[in-house]
């Protein structure tokens, strides 16, 4: 696994934890523990996303545009082809 893939996997894990708690909160909107946990994961994933983007380019249109945005790989690309 490349350094980029490792970082992306870590970011996906943090985003997933935050997302799962977000969905849970849709049907448990007053669960304070879940809200706190969601906040923690959301903050950590924002930090890691910023680090990833500083190294490998933008993940969303607000964090980069033009050449940086267009740069391969796109999410479905295969390593050997890009």
């Amino acid at each position: 696994m490349t350094e980029r893939e490792k970082l992306l996997k870590q970011l996906s894990a943090l985003q997933f934890a935050s997302w799962e708690l977000h969905l849970y909160m849709d049907t448990h909107p007053y669960d304070k523990d879940a809200m706190e946990m969601n906040r923690r994961y959301a903050r950590r994933s924002e930090d890691l996303k910023a680090l990833f983007e500083s190294k490998y380019g933008p993940l969303s249109s607000v964090s980069g545009t033009g050449e940086q945005w267009l740069k391969n790989p796109w999410p479905w690309d295969i390593k050997e082809c890009v």
Binding site: E5, F16, E20, D26, T27, S60, S61, W74, W76
Partner: protein, 212 residues
């Protein structure tokens, strides 16, 4: 509105192409219980959902399904790269290839193109939530069947992730149904459809307090 994030929800890195697998898995792209139907179902139904928890739930799960659609597209794309004509003929992928080459097109494994008849948006909260509970289980069964047909761990891992999500969504929809019925007439859930019978700014509203 929607904004794109340039990454998959769960990584897809398939080393060995396999057109037979692609032809099976594409059913979760545009088949009867696939991710396109799921996202359209929830993102359409949400407009007539009466309670904030349900508007949130349908928006969030519908959005996640779009991410799953992208993952299935990536799996199909990676399974069909660098194919020889021999491989295409031998695997049975030739019937897809003739119409779409290796482009990703929404259809079922049987070849039936995607149709909106795969989903319903009934404008009735109980009906729509039951449709969604059934849809999640049907998708889970389809993923179970894919796991029975596919050996490659590179393909199985993201499929296992998607299967697990169906179970979590089923759980959340069940909670959503309970939240809805808790606010309805417990002697007769069908006395009013809170998606329709509650009119804002309308006189003679028998159901005015149902939405509180």
């Amino acid at each position: 509105m929607f904004q794109y994030e340039k990454k998959l929800q769960y990584p897809v890195n398939i080393k060995n192409p396999n057109p037979k697998y692609a032809q099976i898995i594409i059913s979760q792209y545009g088949g009867p219980d696939g991710e396109l139907g799921a996202s359209l179902r929830y993102l359409s139904q949400r407009f007539s959902m009466p309670y904030p928890e349900l508007k949130g739930l349908l928006t969030d799960i519908g959005t996640e399904e779009l991410g799953h659609l992208e993952m299935i597209g990536a799996i199909v794309y990676q399974l069909t790269r660098n194919l020889s004509i021999e491989q295409i003929k031998k695997s049975g992928f030739d019937t897809y290839f003739v119409d779409h080459t290796t482009g990703v097109y929404p259809l079922a494994a049987s070849g039936t193109p995607f149709t909106a008849t795969y989903l319903q948006s009934k404008g009735d909260v109980i009906t729509d939530l039951h449709e969604n509970l059934a849809a999640e289980q049907k998708a889970r069964t389809t993923y179970d069947n894919i796991l029975r047909l596919v050996d490659d761990p590179d393909v199985r891992e993201p499929i296992k992730f998607l299967r697990e999500r169906e179970i979590v969504h089923y759980q959340r929809f069940g909670e959503g149904l309970r939240l809805a019925t808790d606010r309805m007439n417990e002697k007769n859930f069908y006395a009013f459809n809170p998606s329709f019978d509650t009119h804002c700014n309308k006189k003679g509203n028998m159901n005015r307090n149902q939405n509180k």
